[in-house]
């Protein structure tokens, strides 16, 4: 068991190394090389070649005239020293920009995912318990409909109605301008007001499939013999509902949650763009539009690292929830 945790922990740096390698490869793959455009621009401004190289080296932690393996080593060493180069468009270290953006993205993803999960599970559980009832049929139809609407459609409609038309909620930024950061009522209220629409849009998009999953699992568990036995033993309804039905129905969904985190973390790219919310996805797109390769690859790397850590946490807690998980070993044939 301990061995499994050790191995699982050791995999994190390995995964990050692999992703960093991939991102280095992608930089090389990008059309014309990342800095061709910049180099041409600087040379045209009359800067001599050596200065241009020095400038580029400062922007991305790789020396443009070094052999490929040297560049690769420099890049990897830089990544593990938290040095991701300088952003061209924002003229600031990439790490600083991303350190400011990361909390907002995590805030969006975590809050909306928890909201989605709780509401979806509750609806699905009620549906499973009163299977075939009017509520069940209505909620099933609603869930199927919710599943077929992408989250950004909700986002666009929210911005349209609540943002522009009725002006109930702000349509950009994470806090109102001029509000001091800190644990003041004003600041927290402003943060919540700005995050309300993105969180709501992102949560609603996932409720449908969560509810349907929970309904399916719940129905299956309700039909199991041990629930019948528990009833015959005269256990209280509350105990049966939580200890027997809920825990066994939620378990299979927990593994799916791991996958979901990945999709949702990627999904903030579109979401943050619509709400001009200054998270990782927002900077990724602005970097793409500005041809700012250091910032772009930095965003990619940080989003991936966040996902690696999130999945790690989820993996570790899975053992706590499901005692049957035996260190992931299976005898091979």
């Amino acid at each position: 068991m301990v061995n499994y945790y050790l191995r699982r922990t050791a995999r994190i740096p390995l995964t990050i190394l692999a992703v960093a390698t991939l991102s280095f490869g992608l930089i090389r793959l990008l059309p014309g090389g990342p800095f061709t455009q910049l180099r041409v621009q600087l040379l045209r401004q009359g800067m001599d070649a050596e200065q241009v190289n020095a400038r580029i080296e400062a922007l991305q932690n790789i020396r443009p005239d070094a052999p490929l393996w040297q560049q690769y080593l420099d890049y990897i060493v830089g990544v593990f020293q938290f040095d991701l180069g300088r952003s061209i468009s924002l003229n600031a270290p990439v790490m600083d920009v991303l350190a400011r953006a990361l909390p907002w993205t995590v805030f969006l993803v975590v809050t909306s995912t928890v909201l989605m999960f709780v509401v979806g599970v509750l609806i699905g559980a009620v549906q499973a318990y009163w299977e075939g009832s009017k509520f069940d049929k209505l909620a099933s139809g609603g869930s199927i409909f919710l599943m077929s609407v992408p989250y950004y459609i909700f986002a666009v409609l929210f911005v349209f109605f609540l943002g522009y038309l009725w002006r109930v909620f702000p349509t950009g930024n994470a806090v109102a301008r001029g509000v001091e950061a800190g644990l003041t009522v004003e600041y927290v209220a402003s943060v919540l007001r700005h995050a309300a629409l993105p969180i709501l849009a992102f949560a609603i998009g996932g409720i449908g499939s969560t509810a349907l999953n929970m309904r399916g699992n719940g129905i299956q568990v309700l039909g199991e013999e041990y629930v019948e036995v528990a009833r015959l033993r005269g256990l209280s309804d509350g105990r049966i509902a939580t200890r027997y039905v809920a825990s066994n129905a939620i378990l299979p969904m927990y593994t799916g949650l791991l996958l979901l985190i990945g999709f949702r973390l990627g999904g903030t790219v579109v979401l943050e763009q619509i709400f001009s919310y200054p998270g990782l996805g927002y900077y990724l797109i602005s970097a793409v539009n500005a041809n700012d390769y250091p910032l772009m690859m930095g965003c990619f790397l940080v989003i991936t690292t966040t996902l690696v850590v999130a999945v790690y946490v989820a993996d570790m807690t899975y053992g706590l929830i499901d005692p049957r998980i035996s260190a992931g070993d299976s005898d091979g044939y």
Partner: protein, 338 residues
């Protein structure tokens, strides 16, 4: 082939045997058709959701056919009145955009591209996932460890950011290539869940029996394992297709995929950025591409829900209230289906 050969006495024997094999093969084919296509189709058609799903999807196929054969006018600027509201002029049922482009023409024109992309994405994602999942789950040992590590790596890369970076590097303009790129790492997660199902099927007695008899691994995977996970795969094919639509339209919408002609995401983007956002009277411009996207996804999901009902007898029997013996018999074959 056999009828063209010469007529020696031995040959007649051989031919007779060949034809009997052919008969039985045809019978087997017929049986397979009955069991795998005809009967499920009957069940499917009896379910309202599947019926509705098929109807909705046929509308899209019809639209694609119209676009391919040029049965509706090509979208071009100034073909209609600017900001024409929908249902005002029946020559332009959905109205027109700011530059006077027929909205319905825009929607129809994009359909073949989207359908091709969706199909490519679904086939790629589920195809790779099935191969990876069955091999890794059934073989176990080193093969499993290697495959699982690789798919773990791909799972730890968030899809959309990767697609964005790849889209800049490759600027995919072909719908099939685009579909594959959009689902470039979708197979990893699906492969993992298929693997866990194969793990439990591997323990079933009939698979164990086949193994003891010395049946080859590919044969066991094809004959015993695959049919059991097929329902799950079909449902996930639809989900992968849905993901492809959502991802592509989302990325077109924020403008990171290269514009290749028209597309619902591009239409949505144009509506969004050219002022459809600021008043009720231009909302239709935003709603037309939204309806096209949601409609297609709705059709696909209805179909998958209905298919789930066909394939998942446990849910079905509980609903239709069939006898207990049927339920018991069927529940053993779907272990681990959830």
């Amino acid at each position: 082939m056999a009828t063209e050969s010469d007529s020696s006495s031995e040959d007649i024997d051989w031919r007779a045997e060949a034809s009997s094999v052919e008969m039985s093969r045809r019978e087997r084919l017929e049986e397979w058709y009955n069991r795998m296509i005809y009967e499920p189709a009957l069940v499917a058609w009896s379910d309202v959701r599947t019926r509705l799903g098929i109807l909705i999807l046929s509308v899209y196929v019809l639209m694609a056919v119209m676009a391919v054969f040029g049965l509706w006018r090509e979208p071009s600027p100034n073909q209609a009145e600017r900001f024409l509201s929908p249902f005002q002029n029946w020559a332009y049922p959905l109205g027109a955009t700011k530059s006077g482009v027929d909205l319905l023409a825009l929607i129809i024109d994009s359909t073949p591209f989207i359908l091709l992309m969706v199909l490519a994405g679904g086939v790629w994602a589920t195809g790779v996932a099935v191969v990876v999942g069955t091999v890794s789950g059934y073989k176990g040992g080193t093969v499993d460890t290697v495959i699982t590590s690789i798919s773990d790596f791909f799972m730890s890369i968030p899809g959309l950011p990767l697609v964005i970076v790849l889209a800049i590097a490759l600027s995919p303009e072909n719908p099939i290539l685009l579909g594959v790129i959009l689902t470039i790492n979708y197979w990893a997660g699906l492969g993992r869940s298929i693997r866990s199902q194969v793990l439990s099927i591997r323990e079933e007695s009939y698979v164990e029996a086949a193994r003891t008899m010395g049946t080859s691994t590919p044969r066991i995977i094809l004959k015993d394992v695959l049919p059991n996970i097929m329902p799950y795969v079909m449902v996930n094919f639809v989900l992968a297709a849905r993901y492809t639509i959502f991802a592509s339209v989302g990325l077109y919408f924020i403008g990171v995929l290269p514009y290749t002609g028209q597309n619902w995401g591009v239409t949505l983007n144009n509506a969004y950025s050219q002022g459809a956002l600021f008043g009720m009277d231009t909302l239709y411009w935003l709603l037309a591409p939204i309806l096209a996207i949601v409609g297609l996804a709705f059709g696909l999901i209805l179909l998958s829900q209905g298919m789930d009902r066909i394939f998942n007898p446990r849910v079905r029997t509980r609903l239709t209230g069939e006898s207990e013996s049927v339920e018991e018999e069927s529940s053993s074959s779907t272990t681990g289906m959830m």
